[in-house]
Amino acid sequence: MVTVALVGNPNSGKTTLFNRLTGSSQRVGNWPGVTVEKKTGKLRKHADVHIVDLPGIYSLTPYSPEEVVTRDFLSEVTPDMVINIVDASNLERNLYLTTQVMEMGVPVTVALNMVDIAESRAIAIDAGKLSAALGCKVVPICALKGEGVDRLIETVLAAVGQRPKHLEFSENTEKCITQIEKIITPRNNVSARWYAIKLIESDSLAEKVFKDKLGEIKPYIQALEKSADDTGEAIIADERYAAIGRITATARTEKKKDAVTKTDKIDRYLTNKWLGLPIFAGVLLVVYFFTIGNPEEAKWYNVGAYLTGLLNDYLSGPVYDACVSFLTDAGVSSTIIGLVCDGIVTGVGAVLGFLPQILVLFLFLSILEDCGYMARVCFVMDRIFRHFNLSGKSFIPLLVGTGCSIPGIMATRTIENDCDRRLTAMTTSFIPCSAKLPIISLIAGDIFGGSAWVALFSYFLGIFCVLISGIILKKWHSFAGEPSVFIMELPPYHAPRAWNVFKTTLDRGWAFVKKAGTIILLATILVWIFSNFNWSLNYTEDLNDSMLAGIGNAICVIFQPLGFGGDWRFTVATITGLIAKESVVDTFALLFEDGIVGFITSAAALAFLTFNLICAPCFAAIGAMKRELGTKGAGFAVLYQCLLAYAMGSIVYTVAGLCYGDPVLLSNIVLTVIALAVLGCLLFMKDPFKCINRGLPARSEVL
């Protein structure tokens, strides 16, 4: 059993190579304890070779979970061989990682990818000379076209076990490394040299491993730093790049200096001062046009919405009927038929019906990601988001969330900064997803005569809540953290790779289906039971007699300040919204024979809308949050969302109620004032974590 690890920079073609090496034997999971994706597979035609795809990283610092996962894997598991995929058109920065991996002492084979792109920029790389200068085998490949991959596999299998050379730093630095190596003895397979270099860099994880020897080690490092007049980190980084420069000088020839690339030419328009934002808005509209939209009104070219409409009709029509007749013929009791058909098929079907829209959305997003445009989106939007303690990278999950919160929450994985990631995951559901559109349409249509500003209000409300949450939550200790490091590569554009795009789309679609299958199934069954049985656990046709009505009646009083507590049916509708937000509309259809007009005032309708848009999302989305935030995190998120929804609902009802002439009680006003005061305080109070959040030294350190 041979274990081969795949290591490389983001955008170096690692995923493409991994797909080529493993084909359909890939399995996707999670590294234990972190939300970092783990991909493994078997090498094609070599079932005994196990390939592990490590996350795309630029370096081996202790600062991000991706880098730590890679370090841990290379030091604890010690693969038999590491394939380091290197982008030939970006040699120096890629070799920065290569040399660090080589220093760990694991055998390395360099797969030199994208040689064709380098050539198109008039850059030629001699693989043989590079191999000689670097001290390990270098195999040129084109992962995209599959060229050189067989030779790579041959070379890898032949070179198993061969320890690579390492970089030579300057005399002073080498002296320091030798001095430290004498003091430390690593207990794992990693070479002492790697640890010595990390200790010079003041690497916190390395310092933890050798904390009892630190006293002896520090003087040598301090001497080195004094002689170079710089910190250990900078010394190592400088010398590493210098050594790499000497290596590439032997192997790399550039026939034309600083050629203007195709990417530069495209970016002249896409990130143009005047055209950049309009083009971006245009892209959004295109995506929106093909995916979202009311499934009932969609034409065939609104692909996503149209297919969703078809699937919904199919599931609620032929499939439903087939279930009913099958079970009836089988002599199953009508109660069970009700459970299976009205409960499970309808409930789960309502959510599964979304699959086409979600697949089309994911398809577009994968294309945009794969071709390199997403990085430009972050680049363009960062300025706005920064002011609210989010980063441009938060924009994509929020954008995806307009279709469905679940992939939106899943998309937060790409955000490196842990606090930002969790904050974005918590606030993604504030943006109205396509499931909330029926609620918006219903309220707009029945209560406000089809006015368009109801939809506008909903979106602005969502954005507003996202922004203030960014400010408020940063003041909560578990979200305080160093400001996100934005520094981001803008990868060259390239045509989206069909296989990659389809694979990503299908993976995400499947994750959505799994989520629907498990959580929603459970929740649907529960709600069905509660709405069809009374407290004596007898089946009842009368909804007013059911347990759900009982619960509704008991709870509805808390919604009195929001204006819709008078009629228990609105509370029940809100509860059913937890299964799927569209259920709110279904519940109205079930409980109000002639619609909700006359049972709720305009102001209360607005408050109802507010509460349902902002409160906890559907169970499937809560499940996605649980996956990204952990159980405690998801619990906190739900609590926060419901509290914020309640506060906003109260404010909306009181203000709208006074405008519309509702009988607003004094208690409502008092509650609203309290809500405003609390929100105001949270927004404007001094940030107790200001120092951490701004990345400044703590006051005590300064003094």
Binding site: A234, D238, W274, R383, E489
Partner: protein, 75 residues
């Protein structure tokens, strides 16, 4: 002290020193902004920030606050 933030679009310069601490500084160094590295300022985002630069053959974007940490000198 002149930093990347002070440069105009189209300017070239060489990195002199990287200031700051912690993860941000390490990231700046790791991405190739080390002593002696030539940089070219390409453009600023439509809203004025972040800044796109070319360093070591590739395009890097960084916020003005991050660019402030990189001391440069023009040649």
């Amino acid at each position: 002290m002149r930093t990347i933030k002070d440069l105009q679009n189209g300017d070239s310069a060489t990195v002199v020193r990287v200031h700051g601490t912690g993860a941000l500084r390490k990231r700046v160094l790791d991405m190739g902004l080390t002593k002696g590295a030539p940089v070219l300022i390409v453009k600023r985002a439509p809203l004025g920030d972040p800044i796109e630069i070319k360093v070591r053959e590739y395009s890097l974007s960084l916020r003005s606050k991050e660019a402030e940490l990189v001391e440069i000198e023009r040649f």
